[in-house]
Structures are given as C-alpha cells and as structure tokens.
Symmetry: C2
Subunit: 367 residues, 2 copies
C-alpha cells in the first residue's frame, strides 16, 4: 500500500497558472505582450521601493526579521492601532491559509459568496470545513442571504469588498446593518484588497473603526494591488490582539521575506504614488466603460482595478484569440471576461484587439 | 461568547525571534555585532545572485510565476529528475507546513527525534497529529528506536540528516537499512538542509537515487544555508510525481516570490561559491574544535555549519553575557550553546568573547 493523502484534498484542483508573457511572445512570435489578467499595477511600484530594496541588497544570507517589527510599526501608525493588533503575511494568500488553520474545525460551516476569491473555499476544504455558498445578487454580495445561512455550525463569514472578480461593493450602511446581526462568536473576515481603488462615497471609509464595536471582525489587506508589490508577497491583517496572537501561533516564523518588509515600508510612505495610480485607474475605468457601451456590451460597474464584461461569445475562445494578438485577459464563466485596467495605451490596445477578435466572430457588426 | 480558536493550537507557542542586530547595537552601545545564532552564510550569497535580482528589479508589480517553471527546470537538471518531481516552496518552513496539510489526519502518529527542527512538531500538532518523540542516542538519530515506534497509526517519519541543532549525521548504510524496514505506506521525510556542509565520506551522497527504490521518500532541501538566500525564502522538495501533485493542491499559488525564483536559479549555477563556503566552513569548524578542546569543553562533532558545545554554565546566562559583548549565539538546553560557524575573524572574536564571559563565571581558569 503506497502513502495516502488526506481525503479533504482529494477533489481540490491545484492552481493552473497562465502562460508567462515570455512564453506567449515566443509561441506567437510577438514582440509586445500586454497582461491584463492578474489585476497588477500597470505603473509598477513607487520609486522609493527600489531604493529600499537596494539598501538591503547585501543582506541575502540573513533571515528576515521574524517579527516584522518595523513594518508592524509603520502599519500601526497609519491606522492608529497597536503593533500587536497587526500581523503581516506573505500576501493575503498566506493569511487566508493561516486563518483556516487557526479557526476551522472539521464540520464548521464557512459562509462565502459563490463568485469571489477562490482561496476562501480551498482553505476551508483543506481544514475539513464546509463551504456554504451564497449566490451574488445583481453581481453584488447578498448580505441578507448570508445572514439567512447562519447556523450553530457557522464559524467564519468571508466578505470581499469590493469583490474580486466582479468589482462590485456594498455600502458602509449595509456592512453595519449586517455586523449588528452576526452573532459575536462568528468571525467576519473583511477583505479589502482593492479598497484603495474605490470611487463611490458610500463605501466603508475606515474599516479599522469597526474593530472597536466588533471584536469578531478581522481586516485583511494587501500590498499586491494598489502598492504594486505582487512580486514580493506581502499583505497584512488588523484585528484584536487575541485574534492576532492566535494566528501568530500557526505562522511560519520567517514568512515575510526581508525584501518584502523593506519594500512594504517604503511603499506605504509614498501616498503620492497611490494618488497617481488611483487617478490613472479611474480614467482607464471610464474609458473602458465608454468603449464597452459603444460596443453594446454589458459590463459590471467596478470599484476595483478590473472590470467584468459580457462579450457575448465563449470567453475561452475570446481569451485565446486575444492572446494570439498579444493581450492576456482572464476568461470567466460562459461569455464573461475579466480585464484588468492598464495604462491608457494598454487599455486602447485591448479595445482595438477586442474589436478585431469579436468582429469575425460576429460580435460587433450589428451593435 | 467571543470567537473561539482550534483546540489543537491552544498550547502552541509562537516563535519568539531574537533581537535584531540593530537593537543589540543600540541597547549595548556597540558598533559591531556578530550574529552566529541562525546558521546563516557568513559570506552572503553568490555575486551572481545580485545580478539576477537587479535584472528583475523593475518587475515589482508582477506576480511571480506560480509554477516556478524555470526554477523547477534548473533543479530538475541538477538532479536528473523530471520537473514534475520538483516543488519549490517559500523556504523549507512552508514545505513542512504543506506536508502536514497534505498528509496528517487527526490521530496520526508522526515520529521524530526529540532534539531536531521544531517545526516538524508544531505543524503535526496544528493538523491534530500526535508527535512521537524518539530521544537521540549519543546526540545522533536513533533509527532503531524510530523503527520500534512504528504502529498502524504512523503516518510520517521525519529525518534531518545532518541534524539541526546537533550537527550529527547517520550514514548511507544506516539510512538504507532503515528504509528497508519502514512499511511503504509511511512517508519518510529526508531533510538535508545542511547536506552541502558534510565532510564525512559515509554520508548518503546521492539521496535522490533513493526515490527509485523508495517512492515513500520525500527529499527536502533549502537555499537558506549553503546558498545564502535565507532573506528571500526559498527551498524545494524532490519526490514522486504523485506526492508532488498532491502537495501542490494545498500550496498558495504564488508562494515563491519573484526575486527568490531569480536568485535561486543564479545561486544554483555558482558552484564555485559553494566550494568556497564549504572550505571556509571546514576551516572554521576545525578552529572551533581546537579552541573548545583547549578550553576543555565538550563539543559535538558537526557535519553542518554550526556546533553545539557544553560551556558548563547556564546557557541563558552565557548567551546574555556574549550578547552584551556583541556576539549573538543560541542558548540550548542547560549548559549547551549552539554557535554558527562564521568567517575566521568572527570565529576568533567569538572565542575571545567566550573566554571573557566564562572566566569570571569560573569556567576557564582551571581547565
């Protein structure tokens, strides 16, 4: 009898990465390829990040500070919380996994939207939890529907606001109404990976304030999106000292690498860069809205750096045709695609290639 | 009722990092501080690593290749295995955690030495496994004792060769005799984080060959020690395709950061650097042996880049006194310390300060 694997992971599907840009170039003989598939910052990162990286460039052989002391201090100052209420992680990805290991027992029910960040479900299943899916309503979190699913077995409710991949949000009022009705023994994860891109006024402006009234809330944030540090893997959580100290027990001691720590501190300081990215994203969003409208395609108004649109053709096919033309997007269910908002020239190239792709497929001419 | 945490993590103790060098300098008013506490490479990393890092320096905002395609290829070439038999990870740390999530069910027994890498035990407990500790014999793995502990519930046996923190090894013959007696449904993890430092001839020279006869073996390796990339977090596993594909299911999709991937490929290419570090380590080891002998202190002959010695005084006290003098080592049980082998000037400073510290405590004068 050979070695056996846990039954909980039997049906998990490993992540299948897209082709690297270099492979797409080689395969199709292209010199330029634009990737608008992973919601990466098209302006890169703040120039201060490079400076910070170069400063620690000779420290290859030294383990990172296992406590992330300086990074915790920088984050705690920004949000006016204690360093002991902050826990950096190797991207949100690692934190989602650590949350599962800290909280989820076999048979616990984990409530989440049906179309949201897929790691919520995978990590619940790894720990033997039961994902309870609540369909989006008008592409938006159905908070009432989530409340209705609460049972004695509910352990965690995952909220992603604004949501990936739909880009939709719910308001501060809706969030407060929701939290009032959630029993205090249920952990509510409030994932705001994309909050820096939000343009609507009714978005929860200061989620950290929630922690005062709701100690069962955990706020999840990342440096991968607006701060442009996806390459380095760094995110963080703000929550009560009790929650933080328990998650800390399951953490790999040196999870946030030395370069990520230095880069994140520098990135946090450069709010001018954040403003510049915000403006560019808003402009790109409005441009893409207007182009989708001209093409007659439905799209979902977005509060993030990506937009979902219904191109009315099989999205897998559209994805491949765009890739051949040097534009990589993300195919979603049926005829929906998700495109990250790029620089203006990237957005224009995307629209140009999309028109090329859709025309021969019969998607554009009558619109 | 507030949120509750899993009972499995209740008694886990979070990692307590040592003071950063900068803090020690500040606290004691020192300009130079030597850290010989974490088995870091005193020569840093290959110069090729810096070149490789600078090449990807503008790619901050791009996610790493989630498949580690090029790194897998480089490793598979070096060991003459298939890329599908290789899985990079964010240091060995992350792999130890992933192994636990892939294999350990509640109640499974996990056999390990009593004095070895502590993450084997922590990750077993997180998953509800029962650590079964087998005391070292003469500071060395008691493989017979481990075999004697095998039951129907045994899921994993952890071997660290050479062992951290004792630096001791077991021979190829002993390993083969052991593997022949382990039932094939038990996973044997062979962790050779320090194998590049081994000087003895009877060490298992080519562990990858074991996989042909023993598909229940998993080989765990790291770039943190000999290759000097501890700052970046990168290690890897070589095992059967079936084992690799199952671990891959529980992996965070972008676990190995972009800079770590580039650095590891460059590091692997520079075997001259490895030779230089090997020679320096051997020389430092012989120097420290001879100094411990002169001082009349017992030490454990080491096949790694660290040595355990019995300084016959409370190790916590010796640690603090050395730290005051700008040398950071690792206090172990009772009167034992572990010191990493540094550059020759670092080794000499360590011995000089150790003599200072031990003399007034009554440890040196009569020896």
């Amino acid at each position: 009898m050979p070695v056996s694997f846990r039954k909980e992971i039997k049906d998990l599907v490993a992540y299948k990465p897209g082709k690297p840009i270099e492979d797409v170039k080689r395969e199709y003989g292209l010199s330029d390829v634009i990737k608008l598939a992973s919601n990466e910052n098209p302006l890169g990162a703040s120039p201060k990040v490079k400076e910070a990286m170069l400063k620690v460039m000779e420290e290859f052989s030294l383990y990172p500070d296992g406590n992330c002391t300086e990074l915790k201090e920088a984050i705690s100052k920004k949000y006016n919380v204690k360093p002991s209420e902050v826990l950096p992680s190797a991207g949100s990805d690692e934190m989602v996994d650590m949350i599962a290991k800290t909280f989820i027992n076999h048979g616990d029910e984990i409530i989440m939207a049906d179309i949201t960040f897929p790691r919520y479900m995978d990590t619940a299943r790894i720990m033997g939890g039961t994902p309870v899916l609540v369909p989006l309503k008008n592409w938006t979190y159905d908070l009432e529907g989530m409340l209705a699913k609460i049972t004695d077995k509910t352990k965690i409710i995952w909220l992603c606001n604004p949501n990936n991949p739909t880009g939709t949000m719910f308001s501060e009022k809706a969030l407060l109404d929701f939290l009032k009705q959630v029993p205090e023994n249920i952990l509510v994860i409030y994932d705001e990976a994309y909050n820096e891109f939000v343009t609507r006024d009714d978005y929860p402006k200061d989620s950290v304030q929630l922690l005062k009234d709701y100690p069962n809330v955990l706020i999840l944030k990342t440096f991968s999106k607006m701060y442009g540090l996806a390459s380095l893997r760094v995110g963080y959580t703000i929550a009560s000292e009790e929650i933080i100290s328990n998650i800390n027990k399951v953490r790999c001691p040196f999870d946030v690498n030395r370069f990520a720590q230095a880069a994140a501190i520098a990135a946090l300081e450069d709010q001018d860069f954040v403003k510049k990215c915000y403006d560019l994203n808003k402009r790109g969003k409005e441009y893409l809205y207007s182009e989708f409208e001209k093409l007659g395609y439905e799209y979902i108004p977005s509060e993030t750096n990506h937009i979902m649109a219904n191109v009315e053709k099989n999205s897998g096919e559209v994805f491949l045709e765009l890739q051949k033309r040097g534009v990589i997007i993300r195919p979603m269910m049926s005829t929906w695609i998700r495109v990250s908002i790029g620089t203006m020239p990237q957005n224009e190239t995307f629209i140009e290639k999309l028109k090329e792709v859709l025309a021969p497929l019969g998607g554009c001419e009558n619109k």
